[in-house]
Symmetry: D2
Subunit: 367 residues, 4 copies
């Protein structure tokens, strides 16, 4: 590794998130470039490499880790594989960018953090909301005092459910919509408020619409009490029709702001005939739709990847780390347990031996 | 009483809500007319009668109740007086319209219902959201199957706190924002879903901004589980800057709708100079504002009062009754208790001897 | 005629506009009631009377005019019949409410005004925008000085074209979208600005989408210079997809306001299944739609009819008269001529013998 | 010049637009870098170079043109200097990026185009709307057939007037708001529709609010007829209160889309205290505001400058050229003349010897 020029990146994965990683480095190419991809499914890595113009491809990610040119790995694989891949990458001396949620269990989180620390590599947590331009502007205003003391932050993320089959199988996913999208909201509230200590979590969830498809929750509200006296509210749904929703609300004693990533940025559009692409999970391009523009940029993915590449070059300090991911993981534990017992759960959570966070709801459900 | 012509109405009260009652009968005058007003404060009733062109005024509401011309009483007095006034009016043979919340305790609610039943008069509960045209349209669409099975209904009501001093004193108000505005949301969710049995209540509240002024909660989220499998979400705040917010969200497996009474109906307006009136609780009429038009009509107050007058003439059956108010009262008990214990409270609530609903939070606060 | 109680109304017509008249008196019944309807099409008047609970029906409107009980006639018939019907009604001693546009020619307008004057009956012009609550609020703010001196007023009205066949035939309609909907915008700007003298008209029009169906213009922009230094802008279209649009913009040196009657008041709604009714001319009730609530009230029709009934009882002075309709007619002449010659037309317009306003465009088209 | 690596850029100017150029290359640095700046005002170039980290600075732009390292010049100087600077730069062998409007007269435009052609350098016209991501998305949808045949395109740009004094002096500016901002709308409509032949221009303008400050028009509507049967509408104002407006409307026989750069992308925000920065020309950061995020990116400036740098490296073909600027200039002539004579002006315009486009209005004003 030269430690100069653009950071050489290898991607593990070839699906939705892997595409986002590859496209992001194309949009902001000056700090990093993707030089390899690994995917076990026959043909996937090769197809992906052709599609994105990536020189090398592998079916075994361990082979990719052996390539001395690669400096940073991004993990866009199912949740249950994150821990092992991170450990392997760290042991191969690569910096790691891991998709959300960080992993399945707190024990895994600790192992990932510890291994990267020992190997002297960075463990970066791919929470793009920390880089979403519209949300960053909200935080800047808050930090400038626009709202006085902020007492409530809310993040909502809703659509009609994921496309990939494994999300619906709680054995593979570890949980439903809270696990899938609530991890964003938990991270967001914590980050927005300046990472204060978390006191307790109160969560309400249920399977309202997709009960025939999944045991996982498809709608939830999660309320987090912070030690600084503020609360965070996370609302998620896999049961909301009409397309994607991703928005925040910020309440302070001196003001309020709202930021809507989709309808709030889009072009209100009516088409009899339809057109190419509206937005992730849009039900149609006919009738009234809200097409997105520069989708990845407005989410903040390219800015996030550029930041991670700069971190590898020591130009910046990671703003989203394994420790952040671990906090989210602990809140996920507390939230599922809260939903199970129908009451508040205080932090820290000292539960061990949990296999899947959702079990804390499913197996303890009293109400 | 002639039992013909327009229903003769007497108002108890001379403030904000009493004004709304008087104005409402002027907007839709064909079924009812205000013929008397009673207020104990010297001069208030007379001034009110002059302002609204009402023939008779009284300082003692009991004197007004003795007037044989009057057929229906509307109560726009502090919560703690509702029960006694209702009982007195019923015993005088008058139909009763009582403002929200119905009263302070479940025992009072039972007494009010029972007395009116015995006296053969109607006890009507002034929940105007049942008549709010925009919300009625949402319910019509739901009932027409637009959203398939509705699994979540949400109502939000937020501003920066009431003007009258007694709201801040929990001894006089019985509670904070949940008591003041949450009673609307509770009634709304129950009504919208077709009055299903209520299973349990989970509530989170706090005093975030106005702690120096009140012991009452100034921000809360209340989640109601209904026996039909749906949930209701009630969000209220006395800590939200920027003016009044009153809106609903309806989620079904087949669709979603949103209705915003204020920004969603208003005229986006910028004025350097200001103007007469924007909307209830607007912070200013300069800069950007959202002035309301036909405020009472858009809330549904005239339609509500017309309906109540028609009920007295037996042209219609009351759609908002003392029983509705009692359900709300029970949920208020459950919600304050839930916030106190930090967990779900199952219904029915069998608590007796409670003086003020908020005591169930303040005195049992564990978390 | 008793000259007391509710004004007795007879409607000429049985279609879209006649329905609005009948429904409007039901919504605000205290000042007027419909007692008769006349329509030449066999069965129509009878069906209409049954549908709306109207006691009398006629196939010949002249017979209805002979009924001494009737005090006020509303004309909801094709434009070309307005003048004769008005003259007949006036000669029968009835007050007249005439739908927009007032008539076909300036000569007709003069005859209508003169005949009503001579017979001592009121000629009221059914421009409901003068009563649209949201627009009235905008005018109130302007009159309160919110915007300082208003220098521009804009009214837009757009959809994908009328349903009835006769609108497309310029021989029967007298013009396209300017004649059909521009008459609203012209009246609106004039009224909003306080009825200042009109200096000149500049108009651009074309047949962009429906050329195979009509010779009439289906899209236009009309700019009116007023003697007080302000301008009015009227934008109309029969070629705009996605449903109905009706909105205004008001610009003053000290501020600005916007009022949108449809999307700006409606409930943003997504439905997989559809539902009863969204709004006039909505393309569908599936997908994303903006259903209206209390459509007639929000347009101001009931308020308008109540006002007209009050005028008959001399409780109010007509705020929309034959003279208003004549001004609109003169601007229509000027606008079609302007589009024909491609330049400004100064008022007053002294053209005589015009049969249809649109001929001033079609027959003089230079550009 | 190496013809490799990042294109070396010199900026002429040190104010508002020059800042945008410098910031844009920082946001997307991989294709171009600013190496020099020239400004005649003592100290300005040096200050600018320090602020943006630019190695070289000059008080005489001709000296900068002598620097062999510089490959591309961007001109952010007053309109009246564009032509001479372009000619000088071209003669020095530099590629030229010229801000809008291209120049003052058609003769200047011809000279600029011809000189650059002869010298073999690119003349690129800095119309950022061709790169505005939201508008680009609208064009993509149109090109994909979303709206069928597009018959009308509208672009609006409004605020309360420019800050710099020279804009108000028509001798220095050449015109008012049409010259200043209408050049964007003219370019936009033409580009959006695929650069069809322009048939005629009809324009209405006036000085409504700022008559004591300027002879220039502060509000205008300009309607362009294209040979393909579509029309373009350009609305501009220096008299609109409430902040910046920049938006488009696209109408086709099969659909419609709207794109709002400011309110439509921003965070609706209320602040008692204010904060750092809302958006260009915002009247305040207190009360309700619509703060922008990533302002330059959302306008498309960095994407535009990256494109121009790529053009210099022959990786892309210029999408905004001197020829585009000349078309705009011709429409400006036609529009001012149209406003002067109160009628349509056919293209091509063969007027010579015009000093300032606005003279065609001021000196020929008949109406």
């Amino acid at each position: 590794m030269s430690n100069k020029g653009r950071v050489k990146v290898g991607i593990i994965g070839s699906q939705f998130e892997a595409d986002i990683h590859a496209e992001s480095f194309k949009i902001l190419p000056e700090e990093g470039e993707v030089v390899a991809v690994a995917s076990p499914t026959p043909g996937n890595a090769e197809g992906f490499s052709r599609k994105h113009g990536i020189p090398k491809f592998f079916t075994d990610y361990r082979q990719m880790l052996a390539d001395p040119e690669i400096e940073m790995i991004t993990i866009a694989a199912p949740n249950s594989l994150h821990a092992q891949m991170t450990v392997d990458a760290a042991n191969a001396g690569k910096h790691v960018v891991c998709e959300k949620p960080l992993c399945m269990t707190l024990e895994e989180a600790d192992l990932m953090i510890e291994t990267c620390r020992k190997q002297g590599v960075l463990l970066m947590y791919a929470e793009e909301l920390f880089f979403t331009p519209k949300y960053v502007k909200a935080k800047q205003m808050a930090d400038q005092g626009a709202f006085g003391k902020v007492y409530m932050v809310k993040q909502l993320e809703k659509h009609f459910g994921p496309h990939a089959a494994w999300f619906w199988d709680v054995k593979r996913s570890g949980g439903g919509v809270l696990m899938d999208m609530g991890c964003h909201g938990i991270a967001f509230c914590w980050w927005f408020l300046g990472r204060p200590e978390i006191k307790s979590v109160l969560c309400h969830m249920g399977t309202y619409v997709h009960g025939q498809k999944t045991k996982g929750e498809d709608d939830c509200i999660c309320i987090i009490d912070f030690a600084n006296g503020a609360k965070g509210v996370v609302e998620d749904s896999w049961a909301r029709r009409g397309g994607m929703e991703d928005r925040i609300e910020v309440y302070g004693e001196g003001g309020v702001t709202y930021a809507d990533l989709h309808m709030g940025n889009a072009l209100p559009t009516y088409s009899e005939y339809g057109y190419g692409y509206a937005v992730e999970k849009a039900p149609s391009t006919k009738g009234w739709t809200w097409p997105v523009f520069e989708e990845l940029w407005n989410y903040g993915f390219p800015q996030e990847m550029r930041h991670f590449a700069r971190c590898v070059r020591r130009k910046e300090t990671p703003q989203a780390t394994g420790e952040d991911g671990r906090v989210v993981q602990e809140v996920l534990y507390a939230a599922y347990r809260s939903a199970g017992i129908g009451g508040k759960v205080m932090l820290p959570v000292r539960l061990k031996g949990i296999k899947r966070p959702i079990d804390l709801w499913l197996e303890n459900r009293k109400v």
